[in-house]
Amino acid sequence: MKKTRKLTLLGLLVSQALVLHYIEGFIPVLAPGAKLGLANIITMVALVLFGFKEAMAIVIIRAVLGPLLGGSVTGILYSLSGGILSGIIMSILYQNFRDYFSFMGISTAGAVFHNIGQLLAASWIFNTIGILYTYLPILMVAAVVTGYFNGLVARYILGYLKNKVEIGS
C-alpha cells in the first residue's frame, strides 16, 4: 500500500474511533463505570487491516484525544491504561491464535482487559485494591455483552471492507 494511502486510512480510522468514543458518552448504560466501548470496533478493524503497530497507534491517539473531547484530563490515564492493555491482548490473540477465536471472543477479551487495565490504574491512583473487587463483577458482565456486540460489528465491517476495498495492495 502506498504511504499516502495508508496515512489517509489510518487518519480516517482515528477520527472514526474518536467520534465513536465521543457519542457513546451520550448513551446511558445501566452499570456505573460501564461503557459500550464502541471505539474497540475500530481497534479490531485496524488490527486486521494493518497490524499491531498501527492498531496501537490508533488506540494511543484515541485514548489521549478522546477524554479531551468530552471529559477530564485525568480520564486520559484510564483510557490509556485500558486501551493499551486490551490492544496488546487482542493483538496476541488475533496474530497468534486467530484460528481458535472468533471476532466476538477476541473483542470480549479486549473488553475484559480494558476494564482490568482501568481498574488497575484506579486502584493505583487511589491506593486501594478494594476498587478491583467492588467493580470487577459488574464490569465483567457488561464486557460480555458489549464485547460480543462490538466483535459482531467488527466482523461485518471487515467482511464488507475486504470485498470492497483493496487494502492489501
Binding site: S102, G105, V112, A122, N127, Y133, T134, A143
Partner: protein, 133 residues
C-alpha cells in the same frame, strides 16, 4: 454461530475473575471490630467517622464534602451502609454506585478526587493507608 474453543476460554476466564473478586470481597468483609468510614479528598483524609453498628439507634447522618474545584458530594452514613446521595460531578457515577458496608469497599468520585472507603481494624487496608499518609 457456534462459539470457537478460544471463546469458551474467554468466558471461563471471566467467570473465574468474577468468582475471585467475590472471594476477595468476602475475605475483606470478614473482620471483627469497629469499622471506620474514611473520606479522602485529593489525597488527604478529611473525615474519619465510626461506622454506626446495627445495635445503635439508626441515626443516619449526612456529610457535605466540598471538592477542591468547587463541587460537592453528600455522603450518607448509616447502619445500613455508606452511599453518596447527591453530587454535582458531570458523570454522577458516585451517586449511582451501590452503598457499601464491608471493609475494603469504596465509592470513588473521580472528577472531585473523592474516595469514600470503609476500613476495618488491623486489616490489610489499614496497612495500605498507613503507607499512603
Amino acid at each position: 454461530m457456534k462459539p470457537k474453543i478460544g471463546d469458551v476460554f474467554v468466558y471461563i476466564f471471566i467467570i473465574l475473575l468474577v468468582g475471585l473478586s467475590f472471594i476477595g470481597l468476602k475475605t475483606m468483609g470478614n473482620h471483627e471490630g469497629k469499622l471506620m468510614v474514611q473520606v479522602e479528598l485529593d489525597g488527604s483524609i478529611i473525615e474519619s467517622v465510626e461506622m454506626p453498628g446495627v445495635e445503635t439507634e439508626r441515626t443516619a447522618r449526612e456529610i457535605r464534602i466540598d471538592a477542591v474545584d468547587g463541587g460537592y458530594n453528600i455522603v450518607k452514613i448509616s447502619a445500613d451502609g455508606v452511599e453518596i446521595m447527591d453530587a454535582d460531578c458531570p458523570d454522577r457515577l458516585c451517586v449511582y454506585s451501590p452503598s457499601i458496608k464491608n471493609p475494603g469497599q469504596s465509592i470513588v468520585c473521580i472528577p472531585h478526587k473523592l474516595i469514600v472507603r470503609i476500613i476495618g481494624q488491623g486489616t490489610e487496608n489499614e496497612a495500605l493507608d498507613d503507607t499512603a499518609s
